[in-house]
Symmetry: C3
Subunit: 482 residues, 3 copies
């Protein structure tokens, strides 16, 4: 992070070394701040920069337009917990037993500590680190954000939260007074570094406020910062401020209207954080990454047009997400990047931007996509990008390579799409390219062999189902006619 003292020291050092130095030069060699903003269940088509017709996101769009937006950004899983585990570990969740959301009613489990989080890696390499918002990666002490590499944490450890403190705090209080101890995580108090806090603001606004606080604190450090700002919006429960819903008089559907209000509040938060960066002179030195953890949930107000299906699906609507990069002078302005990238790429990419080397024993499933990105080339030429979602007794699967996407849904045979020219997955071309399809399926089968058994299930019945059906039943998943 560029701060006055740093510049002074740099200048002095330059003078001593009798070497000329300029601000720009110093800037180029310094580690950038990284601000990773993650929305929750945000639809592909629900931001202005992806063409939303009803929801407005002026602050997000401003950044996206001054940076580069991505048309083919994939996350590692089509729902929350595994997608986040993938993002922060740089690994397919299937490789670390994190294919399911953590148990609904709590557990002592979490993403294995043997997997060093991106945050820990950046912390080890001189970053001041913060996480704000939803965690969903383990609430036992050893899995707490502060133990996974975040100097600062403000938020809630579960998989979601109600939005209005005056309502959820009252419900929580009533249950406590009845002597109950196992209370639904959506209504428990928020925390700051492990200490319960009394939050009073609408949660999206509260998280934005804390992000501003973090930025202000970070600039007093001599370190660059990494901030993981994980909004729970617009995840259910659908709860928006009236004033935010009032921004959308033309939306009549109650759910859509509420959802729109929630996105609007999120957008306001992004604006506030950007203001804080500007005020502190850090915007030019900060890579801002914005994305959703998975596709929007169609039954809860989201819109993934033109993608098929939504959250949970192996079709594009499940795991192709809205995304942009913003970093003046480093990220092309006004560009649309139309090659596939994966959230698994962030770990090695951020590592490279931080000038730090990932330990040899830390496995990563993505790759540093920065050079290809800067050259507007496909970072994943001939690579395979996988999506595997276990269901009750079978699995849905997808594998992407170059223009092709192979897709397996339920008990239907594998299909093949030219996804570059058929984004809607309408035209199955498997009959035209049987060997290509078979080859891609075989590659995915090969990939599957070192998947781990799930370390947990969202509900116990899922575990029983898994075992009774001898899951993963990949002999069915990877069956082809050839």
């Amino acid at each position: 992070m560029i701060k006055f003292n740093n510049i002074l020291v740099s200048l002095l050092a330059a003078i001593i070394l009798c070497a000329p130095v300029s601000y720009t030069h110093a800037n180029d060699t310094q580690k950038p701040n990284i601000l990773l903003i993650m929305a929750d269940d945000l639809g592909y088509a629900d931001v202005g920069f992806n063409g939303s017709k009803d929801i407005i996101t002026p602050n997000i769009d401003d950044l996206a337009n001054k940076g580069t937006s991505f048309s083919e950004a994939y996350v590692a899983h089509p729902f929350c917990g595994p997608s986040r585990a993938g993002l922060l570990t740089g690994r397919y969740p299937h490789k670390i037993g994190a294919q399911f959301n953590l148990p609904t009613r709590g557990s002592h489990l979490g993403v294995p500590t043997s997997e060093m989080f991106m945050s820990k890696f950046l912390q080890n390499n001189g970053y001041f680190t913060g996480a704000i918002g939803k965690w969903h990666l383990g609430d036992a002490p050893q899995y707490h954000p502060n133990q996974r590499g975040f100097d600062e944490y403000y938020g809630f450890l579960g998989g979601g939260h109600n939005y209005f403190p005056e309502q959820f705090a009252a419900a929580y209080k009533r249950q406590k007074e009845q002597g109950l101890s196992n209370i639904f995580e959506y209504i428990t108090p928020l925390e700051h570094n492990g200490k319960e806090v009394t939050e009073t603001e609408y949660i999206t606004d509260a998280l934005s406020r804390e992000a501003v606080t973090f930025v202000n604190k970070a600039v007093s450090k001599t370190q660059p910062f990494f901030l993981y700002l994980a909004y729970n919006a617009p995840h259910v429960p659908l709860e928006a401020k009236q004033e935010d819903m009032d921004m959308f008089p033309n939306i009549k559907d109650k759910k859509r209207k509420t959802y729109a209000g929630m996105v609007y509040a999120l957008d306001r938060g992004v604006g506030r954080v950007v203001d804080a960066l500007k005020k502190n002179g850090q915007l030019d030195n900060t890579l801002i990454v914005f994305l959703s953890d998975n596709g929007g949930k169609l039954s809860q107000g989201a819109n993934n047009d033109p993608l098929k299906a939504g959250k949970g699906s192996a079709q594009e609507g499940g795991f192709r997400v809205p995304m942009f990069f913003h970093w003046p002078n480093h990220v092309p302005s006004g560009q649309r990047f139309e090659h596939p990238v994966s959230s698994l790429d962030f770990y090695p990419t951020f590592a490279a931007l931080a000038g730090a080397e990932v330990p040899a024993d830390k496995q990563l499933d993505g790759k540093n996509m920065w050079e290809a990105f800067k050259a507007n080339k496909n970072p994943h030429q001939d690579d395979l990008i996988f999506l595997l979602r276990h269901r009750g007794g079978y699995s849905d699967a997808a594998v992407r390579r170059n223009q092709y996407k192979a897709l397996k849904i339920a008990d239907k045979p594998w299909q093949l799409f030219d996804i570059d020219n058929d984004i809607e997955e309408n035209h199955d071309i498997s009959a035209q390219h049987p060997l290509i399809l078979k080859d891609m399926v075989r590659e995915m089968e090969k990939w599957s062999w070192d998947n781990q058994q799930p370390l947990w299930f969202h509900e116990h019945y899922e575990g029983a189902h898994w075992r009774l059906n001898a899951m993963p039943r990949f002999e069915q998943t990877f069956k082809t006619d050839q």
Copy 2:
């Protein structure tokens, strides 16, 4: 341990340091000896101090009456192997894969060496340690008592043993002569530190004799001692000396009479060990803990009145056991402690009495109950105490919190008892307190998530059953109507 040489050294040291010292003072600051006596399948009502009307246990009663007896002492499991694994590791057996007895016909398995036994911990902290009697925690070299922290071991490694050497030695000899190598562990020779011995006494008397030998040896050391005296009596086979049975002319039932004789021999042994302690001036410096590993087996002569059911059950008769503490000047005399305690508490409690700190990476599921015990307060106020017993395709479960006990048996719905006022579990109050019940069940469900798969089964068919039924099937175990 206070011995003449020790006192002399202490006195000399005191003189050199010009500081006054008294025996009592020295005693207070010294680590006590710990004598942990465990009976096998002894019924709650089968000791005088718990009100037995037919069996007499004069030596046990004398200690119990001069110490404190416990009305609500729980063990970690309602049968042998897991209960002992829990006691010595301080962990619920479910957390370490030890939910079943080791295989009947032998194996190379045992309680994972990654779990430091209480004995190893005390040995590391200066104790001279001994185990005498039944082991049942692994008979491969790495699981041998001498490898788990016991300086001395005398006994048999399996899950039980016949009692009359003249009989079992002959049977063993016959089988050896036929060239057989896999001989039922109840009739194989006993051992001393891994070397086979020729035992000639009735086993209960033999174990008492060895305990006396250990005590005599221990007093020659400058260390305190920890002795784990694990009688197999009155576990089947029901074999008593005639003279001991003759003590119970009024007992007509053959099984009960034999059982009574076995308990009487055990009581005689306790008396002998106490005599050895007295003779060596160690009684006042020794914490004696006496308990059973689980409830009595009703079909084999035991009596758990007023508790329901017996060995193997999640009802009180399965895992609430007779217990006392004796330690002059430290344990209240003539007291009945009427709060719940757990055998899982021993590890941290003994550690505290030994003035030693448990390593941070050693997980413990109980707590140091000493201060609460001394203050006659509930050491487990608001805590949860669990009992989980896997059966063929389902599990029985119990959870205790304060006055409440929630109980799940087979496919019956969860029940709730005010166990403080309804020790017989007669009055289900679940309808009156549905939220309390649900809350306790949810807590147990939460606890269950990091249970481990069993590392072994008593018989292979149990393993097949486990897998065929997709056990543990907790979605059934923790189902509530609410």
Copy 3:
């Protein structure tokens, strides 16, 4: 390895020390070279030294006749991958999760790196090491021969290979040109230390050539060598040179004729390697071990007479293999060793010959059989030798002790054979020796308890089958009437 410089140094050292020294003396105290030649699916009766009437193996026979052949040599498993895993790790494959062949269509799996291979051990102890031919123990980087203790590797990593380069290279090229990436491993290019090579010779001749190259290279080193020469011949596909088939004009059966030609080519290769040893003056200093990885496959031209069944079976034809040792002045000449030995014995035996100590934490399931072998005594007196082969829903099993072999096939009851006098397993004597049978089965049951779950299956459907049937179902495998 004795080389001129070594001798010179030895002589000089001897002179300095004023001690007489002779070549023979030096030879006795030096580590021998070890040449381990493994044929693939070679039948018990398909070498001259075991009495083949139609196939001639002059070079192999010459060595066998000048050395010692074995009538009761067992491998650890009746098919390829597990047998090789057993050989190189010194462990029953069931103990390390390697009970199945690696997946047909590739995986990132391999024999756990926690098991130090024999090659790594010998390399650590000063050997120059090479592997040539079939690997089949993992093709991900961490499982590559060069990572498992082989300084040199030439061959193919999969479970087999086609033999004629002009054919398989063309097929490979066609598939590559179609843009396919997952190509059948039998037709992919061979490699040298991880680098693809263009092989032009018939594969058996190519492997022989590389073995000669290795020997020539090894003699330039000051180290002894260990060469693991793993021919894929005469494993399918049945592909022989016409000139080799022409050696067998009397064999009319097409498969047998081709098979015979393949064996003949293998024999020619053995001759070439021996010539290289002779030329370099190393034959007298080299222990040559020759064996097959499992029994011959009866449907593919092999002959295991007089043994019952073949590859894959728990009968003798499945895992009793042709074997000889050759080492002038160390291995008796012209002897037939008629006691059981196991390929699991190689690891500790080679370690002893190398004068090196196996690390305490390296478990081994065999034993050093050298002293007993030299004394022509049974190295496995009273020991148990196991064979366990999992099938679809059940397991076949065999256990050998002294003259007895207990056998369990499918759902038939256990049988007992006096295998010393009934090599054909014709006369079930279980009724005469029920206690012996039961005792052996109980020992095998005891052995089974610490078997590991398979880490992989040849095909996914096998894994599903395994789980759906709650395998291993040992309660059925070890059921006896008694």
